[in-house]
C-alpha cells in the first residue's frame, strides 16, 4: 500500500518550503540507511545531515556532481569533507558507513530512507532549490514493489561514478604548494 504526500512545493511567494521540512523530518526519524542523490548539494546541508551519523551504525550514501559546481559550493563541500575526515579520526566506522560518490552525469534528485520511503522531484539539495526557486516534488511511503528496480538504478549510478569524495579522496585535501 503506497501512501502519497503531494504536492511538496517550494514557492517563495507562498512562503512554502515543504521539501526542506520533509527532508528534516526524514533526517530526524529512525533509519538504518539513507540515500541522498542530487547533482547539486549545499555543503552546509550535508554537514548538518551528518550530525546524526556519529557513533552509531547508520549508513549514508550520497551521490552528487563535483566538477561543474560553483566555486563557493565546491568550497563548502570541501569543508564538509574535511569535517568528515576529522570525525573519521574519532569514529573509525564512519568511513565504512558514509560513502560520497561523484557521478558527473547525475540528474535525478531523490532521498530514499531504508528502501521504504522516497522523496523525489525537481529539488536539488541547495539553498536556492530549497528556499528560492519554484520546485515540485512528491513523497511516497511503502515502495517495496519498486525496490528491485530502484536498487538496479542506484547500482548503475554508483557503478559509473568517477570517484568518491569520501572516504577515498585525494583531490580535496592535497595542499597546493
Amino acid at each position: 500500500m503506497i501512501e502519497i504526500e503531494f504536492p511538496i512545493i517550494t514557492s517563495p511567494p507562498a512562503k512554502r518550503d515543504d521539501f526542506l521540512k520533509k527532508f528534516q523530518e526524514i533526517a530526524l526519524s529512525d533509519f538504518d540507511h539513507l540515500i541522498a542523490v542530487a547533482p547539486f548539494v549545499d555543503g552546509r546541508l550535508i554537514t548538518n545531515l551528518l550530525k546524526g551519523f556519529l557513533y552509531n551504525t547508520r549508513r549514508l550514501t550520497i551521490v552528487t556532481r563535483y566538477g561543474d559546481l560553483f566555486p563557493d559550493q565546491k568550497k563548502l563541500i570541501n569543508e564538509t569533507i574535511v569535517k568528515l575526515k576529522k570525525a573519521a579520526n574519532k569514529d573509525h566506522t564512519i568511513s565504512k558507513r558514509i560513502i560520497w560518490h561523484v557521478n558527473p552525469r547525475i540528474h535525478a534528485k531523490f532521498v530514499i530512507k531504508d528502501w521504504q520511503c522516497i522523496l523525489f522531484g525537481s529539488h536539488n539539495f541547495t539553498y536556492s532549490a530549497l528556499k528560492k526557486n519554484y520546485e515540485l516534488s512528491i513523497y511516497l511511503e511503502g515502495i517495496s514493489d519498486f525496490v528491485r528496480d530502484l536498487k538496479i538504478f542506484l547500482d548503475d549510478i554508483v557503478g559509473h561514478s568517477t570517484k568518491t569524495l569520501f572516504p577515498d579522496n585525494s583531490s580535496v585535501t592535497k595542499k597546493k604548494r
Binding site: 526542506l20 527532508f23 528534516q24 533526517a27 530526524l28 549545499d42 552546509r44 546541508l45 554537514t47 548538518n48 545531515l49 550530525k51 546524526g52 551519523f53 556519529l54 557513533y55 552509531n56 570525525a87 579520526n89 574519532k90 569514529d91 573509525h92 539553498y127 530549497l130 528556499k131
Partner: protein, 398 residues
C-alpha cells in the same frame, strides 16, 4: 603561558571550590524540556549555520531576557527564573543530550521522542538511566583542554549520581539521617590529587561508609570539616588571587551547599529520592546558612531518603565498572589509533552484550582489557568479564 594565566583568571569565582560542580542540576525541568526541544529544532535545521556554544548562549540569553527571566542578582532559589544559560548547557552536557562538537546524540533524539509522545514513564526512565551512567569529567575543559591540576577534577573517576545514592544507602544502613551538609562532605566531597592518585568509586565508598559510621557515634563538627576543605586553596592560583576576600569561606560554603541542593532537586524530580522537608531552622552549624554580600541562604533539605526506584537503580548500577575513553587513551598511544578503536569496540561490546566470543579477541587485547580493570574468565569459547563496564561511545568520547 600568559594565555593560560588569563584563562585561569577568567575562571575565578566560577568554581565552588569545595565540591563537584553540579549546579546545572537545579534547573526547572519543564523549562529545560522546552529548551531541549528548541535546541533540537535549531540543530535539525538542515540549512542552519553551525551553532557554536557562544551563539547558543547568546540565543538562550535573548530568550531569557525576552521572557523576563533574567536576574542579574540571583536569589538563593535556583529553580525557575534564576537558572541561567550556563547551567542549562551544563545540565544538557552532563546528561548526554549535547556534545561539544555538535553531533546529535541518540539520547537527545530518544528524549525528544518521549517528550513529543507525552510518555512520562519513558522520559523518567531515560533520565534515571542517564544519571546512573553519568560520569564525572573535568567541567572546565571536557577532559581535553589544559586545566590546572589543583582546580580540576581530572583525578576523579566516579559516577556522582551513583555515589549520591550510595551515600543515602550508607546513611540508612548506619541508622543516621542525612542532610545537605552530609551529602556535600561525602558523595560530593572534593579530594585533591595529592590525597590519592585517583579518586575512584571504591575509595569514595570507603570514605562515605567511614563518615556515616563516625556520624552514628557522634555528630560531626561541620564547621571544622568544611574548614579542612579550605586547606587546598593554598596551592590554588585562582584562590590566592582572591586571598584578601573576607567572604571566601562563606562563599565557598554557600556554593558547595548550593551544588548539593541542586542535585537533590534533580534527584527528587526524577523520583530517585524523597526530600520532603526544606528546613531553614537548622540545629547545627550548616554550610547552607552561610551567606555573603547580598546573597541569601540556601534552603536545606534536612532529611533525604531513597525511594524504591532509587534503591533499585543503585542495586543495578553499583557493581558496574565505569571506564572512561581517556583510560583507553592512556593505555594505548595515539599512533596506534586502530588498536584504540578496537579496544573501544570491545569495551562497548562488553557494555552491551556482557561477553565477547574468544575467537574475536586476541590474547594481547585480553591483556589490555585486564589492564583497564576488566579481568574475567573464558568459558566455552566466550570471554565474560567479572564486572560489566559502563561505557557509552557517544557520551564518553570527547
Amino acid at each position: 603561558m600568559a594565555k593560560r594565566t588569563e584563562r585561569h583568571k577568567a575562571r575565578i569565582g566560577t568554581s565552588s571550590g569545595f565540591a563537584i560542580h553540579l549546579r546545572g542540576a537545579g534547573v526547572d525541568q519543564q523549562k529545560m524540556d522546552e529548551i531541549i526541544l528548541d535546541y533540537l529544532r535549531m540543530e535539525s535545521d538542515l540549512l542552519g549555520q553551525e551553532t557554536r556554544p557562544t551563539e547558543f548562549n547568546a540565543r538562550m540569553s535573548i530568550d531569557a531576557i525576552a521572557r523576563g527571566d533574567y536576574q542579574p542578582d540571583r536569589t538563593c532559589s535556583l529553580e525557575g527564573p534564576s537558572a541561567n544559560v550556563r547551567e542549562k548547557l551544563r545540565y544538557m552536557k552532563y546528561l548526554g543530550f549535547i556534545r561539544r562538537d555538535g553531533f546529535r546524540t541518540q539520547v537527545l533524539t530518544d528524549y525528544v521522542r518521549a517528550l513529543n509522545a507525552n510518555n512520562s514513564v519513558a522520559r523518567l526512565n531515560l533520565l534515571q538511566h542517564r544519571i546512573a551512567s553519568w560520569k564525572l569529567r573535568c567541567p572546565q575543559g571536557a577532559g581535553r583542554r589544559w586545566t590546572p591540576k589543583q582546580n580540576g577534577y581530572r583525578h576523579y573517576r566516579v559516577r556522582p549520581g551513583i555515589m549520591f545514592l550510595y551515600a543515602l544507602k550508607s546513611a540508612e544502613d548506619h541508622g543516621v539521617e542525612i542532610d545537605t551538609d552530609d551529602l556535600t562532605l561525602t558523595a560530593l566531597r572534593f579530594f585533591t590529587p595529592a590525597q590519592r592518585g585517583r579518586v575512584d568509586e571504591e575509595f569514595l565508598r570507603n570514605h562515605i561508609d567511614q563518615y556515616f559510621a563516625s556520624k552514628a557515634e557522634r555528630l560531626p563538627d561541620y564547621r571544622a570539616e568544611f574548614e579542612s576543605q579550605m586547606d587546598r586553596v593554598e596551592r590554588d592560583l585562582g584562590e590566592n588571587l582572591r586571598a584578601n576576600d573576607p567572604c571566601a569561606f562563606a562563599r565557598k560554603c554557600r556554593n558547595a551547599a548550593n551544588d548539593t541542593f541542586c542535585l537533590i532537586i534533580l534527584m527528587r524530580k526524577v523520583s530517585l529520592v524523597e526530600a520532603p522537608n526544606c528546613n531553614t531552622a537548622i540545629e547545627h552549624w550548616s554550610a547552607t546558612q552561610e551567606s555573603y554580600d547580598h546573597t541569601g541562604k540556601v534552603p536545606e533539605f534536612n532529611i533525604v531518603t531513597l525511594t524504591d526506584a532509587g534503591r533499585q537503580l543503585l542495586a543495578e548500577s553499583i557493581e558496574l565498572f565505569p571506564i572512561w575513553y581517556e583510560d583507553i587513551c592512556t593505555l594505548i598511544p595515539s599512533q596506534e589509533h586502530e588498536d584504540r578503536a578496537e579496544m573501544v569496540f570491545y569495551v562497548n561490546k562488553l557494555c552491551l552484550d556482557n561477553n565477547i566470543p574468544q575467537d574475536m579477541i586476541s590474547d594481547d587485547q585480553l591483556e589490555y582489557l585486564a589492564n583497564l580493570g576488566l579481568s574475567g574468565r573464558c568459558e566455552t569459547g566466550v570471554f565474560i568479564p567479572d564486572r560489566r563496564p559502563v561505557f557509552e561511545l557517544q557520551y564518553d568520547m570527547p
